[in-house]
Symmetry: C4
Subunit: 233 residues, 4 copies
């Protein structure tokens, strides 16, 4: 706890979400420009996203917590580690930062600043995928906080690397990023009217993970344990 | 040793194996949907699997040991670090979790919950490959436990990343995962009647590695050593 | 601070920049020789560059600081951590080392030692992309120095891995490397007369990041902080 | 220094080199079977090799030093950290282990145990590339030993990941591995009569790196140092 004031913390959340979205959108544009193989494009979208997450969480985490994600901020608010008012301002900073990220990516690639997405992403299977994606993300963060706090930048980067591929929705898992992606009609885009389904699924997934992990990692669960076979002591 | 009770440990084994299988199967489906180049599909299957293993072993290892694999559980039982009864319940949790993982992947991609695989994976060469895959996995775990316990999540993730490519069988190396993969007729599938050959080879490979590594890393093997040339002191 | 003398520090800067440029140029030639898919070629250019940066900064950082980049050296000079005269000699060593790197790559691939690039890289969008690329690089370095100094080799390697894809210019972000890349008419090349635009954008981006991060990470910004929700304590 | 006896150390060198070669050869066969894009095949060869090196050096380094490479063993012998007789037995174990690795890979893929390579790899440019590859490898090891010993498994894995792409020869950099690769007529093969050029270049490159790094990292080089700008303190 280094004690940064709220303006700096909100700046960190906005800056981090902006760079994150610029990476997601920008690498998607780059990939789409360079190849017709969609798997290769997804790979060119996945590796930069995972890599930048490790960087951003390492350099901004000590300032603001490096949530970059209203669903994650909600989890910390529910854990009473962030006052409601601050959580709301975090979410606003994340959404504004995310939109800035899309604009930055568009300017770098000489596209119009904003271009509403036409890409359809809807239906029960994709909503379930977003539920899974957010559940896994929050489980990763809470497990990491408990057992390996210094590894969290890596854990989140690796989790998202995996989730881009194993979820049918390519794992948005983040309402602020989802909103920002509605403003780009490129590889990473999502139709604006498909946002509500994604956001609801993400929030429910995050809360479910909070519930399960709170029980699973309960500090009071110490008992007689006959096993010494931990892979990670 | 944080001392989690058996219900939590079994939950961790089931949850971890479910997410692992959902990643293996889900990323295989995603890859197959996006490209016709099988090497690219295998890459899209490899990176998520390696990445999620680092995450899962880090966040669940301190709870249950993060075996996610009956062959690994057997090794710890043979080392008398896990009672037989608990080892059996671990294996059951892993198998049930694995099956749940296949179902989760199918639901995300809007496929039938279960679909028996038709993919043939049999014959002496593939059985030898599975022997090698499991041998290497257990050698990695035992070497890591001895010299770099905190690195085990990375070692296992990297080992599997390599073994997907250097073994002809793409390294199942895990009876619970193999069973779960028999229930999906997609990229990662294996014909149910090819399971016994794979499982027997995996178990023998794991036990052979236990034997060799027990000798090689024997604590009593300290002697006059004239070399100072360790790469890893 | 291990206290290496100036000749050794300049050698380290020249050697590191040479190997970095040999990697950038050499892997670009290799990739271009092996595939017609440009996304795949960029991937074959990205992974080696990110990987070698981790290595070079780890093994040469304690000698010279491992800048390998006049824009980074300028930032440290502005922070008064490097005298102007030494900064100038650093930049000279970096430029000479970079040129040597291009020659080494060409000799390995049996090309003429020097071959001026014809590849056009100019215009406002690309200059903005270079501004972003250098801004992000310096933010990464300064944030890392403050919160995770031992992770800097990884942070820089991962940042460049991401920036190769999310910036429209594939993130040169380095005047010395840009100059060296003007001497190769291969995948990584840049027309010599496009250099000034890139270099100016890079220097401005670096200085802007210094300004923002100096404020954001200001040591005196400790106050009453109601949040405990850091991902990275 | 854990003090393992010579039989265990030689076993570790043979086992490690066998798994390393099985990975290089096996992943090459897998890649060649799955795609016609040679860049993708090289990627499918690179990632497993880099990954397995991290694993093998971590788990076997404390036993034998994890050289797996006669050129590296020679460097430690020249540094008088390994007696000549032991160095010779190390090299023999590495060569025998490497040959076993090729055989293991062939058996997994149902190929004849041994099949002499027809792939031509010769000429001044490739010899220079092997000189560079071995120079960089030994510089990486010696720099790592000096400043970040626990990171050496990662440094070597990352260096080889880069060198597969930036050297025109795809960085054999290892006489034992080169000999083993002469016995496979697949992706990773090298014509037996091209071996001497490669091996001579590798040995000279290793010795040159020893000379330069001994000077550069000289412990006595402490002086008045006006810079505080290390990226890696």
């Amino acid at each position: 706890m280094l004690g940064f004031d709220l303006p700096r913390r909100l700046t960190a959340e906005a800056l981090g979400t902006a760079i994150l979205v610029a990476t997601v959108v920008g690498s998607g544009i780059m990939a789409e420009n360079l190849t017709r193989d969609v798997a290769l494009a997804l790979l060119g979208n996945t590796l930069p996203t995972g890599a930048i997450l490790v960087v951003l969480i390492t350099i901004l985490g000590p300032v603001s917590g490096a949530h970059f994600n209203p669903a994650v901020t909600l989890v910390f608010a529910l854990r009473r580690e962030l006052p409601i008012a601050e959580a709301a301002s975090y979410a606003a900073a994340q959404i504004l930062g995310g939109i800035a990220g899309t604009i930055i990516a568009h300017l770098m690639f000489a596209l119009p600043m904003i271009d509403l997405a036409l890409k359809v992403r809807t239906g029960g299977a994709l909503w379930f995928a977003e539920w899974v994606a957010a559940f896994g993300l929050v489980a990763t963060i809470l497990g990491g906080l408990r057992f390996a706090p210094s590894a969290i930048p890596w854990l989140v980067g690796l989790y998202i690397t995996a989730a881009y591929w194993f979820t049918a929705s390519t794992s948005f898992a983040n309402p602020a990023v989802a909103i920002a992606r509605a403003l780009t009609n490129t590889f990473a885009g999502i139709r604006p009217w498909d946002l509500p389904g994604f956001i609801v699924a993400e929030v429910i997934g995050a809360v479910c993970a909070l519930a399960l992990m709170t029980w699973l990692l309960q500090p009071g669960s110490v008992g007689v344990n006959s096993s010494k076979a931990e892979l990670q002591p």
